[in-house]
Symmetry: C2
Subunit: 219 residues, 2 copies
């Protein structure tokens, strides 16, 4: 009676509902800004159940962080491979690589599954946090990032590795702020730009970043 509900909304398995609620709340308020009781309330579940399924609060946080990581990494890796397959011997261009790095995120956010939007906002929170940031990000994303950086190195022959890393840092920052969905650019532009218009965000980000890479790494 729990899974095949007609609406398919509130009756998902409780374990999953806890993850969903935690994902949304952690993304908006951070680890310390959220209470296990708030999570339980939103999941319509008893407080103790989170503990039964996930252990301590920090373990729940990590479970949320890891739930979608593999599938996200697969999508991005696959996009990179695809661009490499269609390219010639010299490999894909900078634009194509950045495109492969970013578009899967846009697609994930556009599935209509709000969970992905919250998840990516959570990644933004973690990536920008001096405390959780380095360790948690490294653990899940370093391998993938190094693949992309290697591809960029090939697309920018003769570039100094140091320069590539600094450029990646700039890319990562622009992306992080986009994922955070803070609505700041909405206010600033008087409604001309909308944080939730992801296609516009990435359409402007890709040429911006590609030009930056070329400028810094290729002269």
């Amino acid at each position: 009676m729990s899974q095949p509900s007609p609406t398919g909304q509130t009756t998902a398995p409780r374990r999953e509902r806890i993850l969903d609620a935690a994902e949304e709340l952690f993304a908006e308020h951070g680890f310390d800004g959220v209470t296990l009781r708030q999570i339980a309330r939103r999941a319509e579940v008893d407080v103790a159940l989170a503990n039964y399924h996930f252990g301590k609060k920090l373990d729940l946080f990590q479970a949320v962080f890891e739930r979608r990581a593999a599938s996200l990494n697969d999508a991005r890796r696959q996009a990179l491979r695809a661009s490499q397959a269609t390219a010639g011997d010299e490999g894909p261009t900078v634009e194509q690589i950045i495109e492969a790095f970013l578009r899967p995120l846009e697609l994930a956010q556009e599935t209509g599954d709000e969970g992905w939007r919250h998840y990516l906002a959570l990644i933004a929170y973690i990536n920008n946090s001096p405390y959780w940031g380095p360790r948690m990000m490294s653990h899940l994303f370093d391998d993938l990032v190094h693949e992309f950086i290697a591809a960029l190195g090939k697309a920018l022959p003769g570039a100094r590795p140091e320069n590539i890393y600094w450029c990646y840092h700039n890319l990562s920052g622009a992306l992080t702020l986009t994922l955070a969905q803070t609505k700041r650019i909405d206010n600033l532009s008087g409604g001309l730009c909308r944080s939730d218009d992801l296609q516009a965000a990435y359409d402007h980000m890709i040429p911006f970043v590609a030009a930056g890479f070329r400028e810094v790494c290729q002269r």
Copy 2:
């Protein structure tokens, strides 16, 4: 007997010590990740004193946020004015404008005053936070940002305002991650890049961003 201490370290006026401690802790752990008791302990002060000087916890947070805002805005505005003064009728170039936007931050962080480093990390935290972000940032920084955007508009004749705002968004993201000082790029690059090497960070960021603006806004 309190101010003219020989070392000038721990004997600063207590009100200021509270702000310093709060600044550092809020920057690292966010608003909810810090306890008034932790702040008081670091400031070597009684818990109740924070309340006496600043009121509620949120008021203290805002006091920290506002303490250095005016002087920072002045420095950046002055840098913009200087670049406008030395430029001809068509105004400063994109590089010069970005330079004016960023270098005062580098200088602030390099004064040796650790407080500035913490303060700028706090701004990164706020700017990336969906909850505090838009309102608090707008209140203190919108006027200045609009001045810079106007200058960029003049340096990029014919550019669509929408494109300029999206480029500013990318710039803001790269800057925010730099200010956060998360050490992620240090790990990723195997020590090749250092988050606290601000000159390197800005030296790479300025041409990167300027090229991005040109690419997106000027063709």
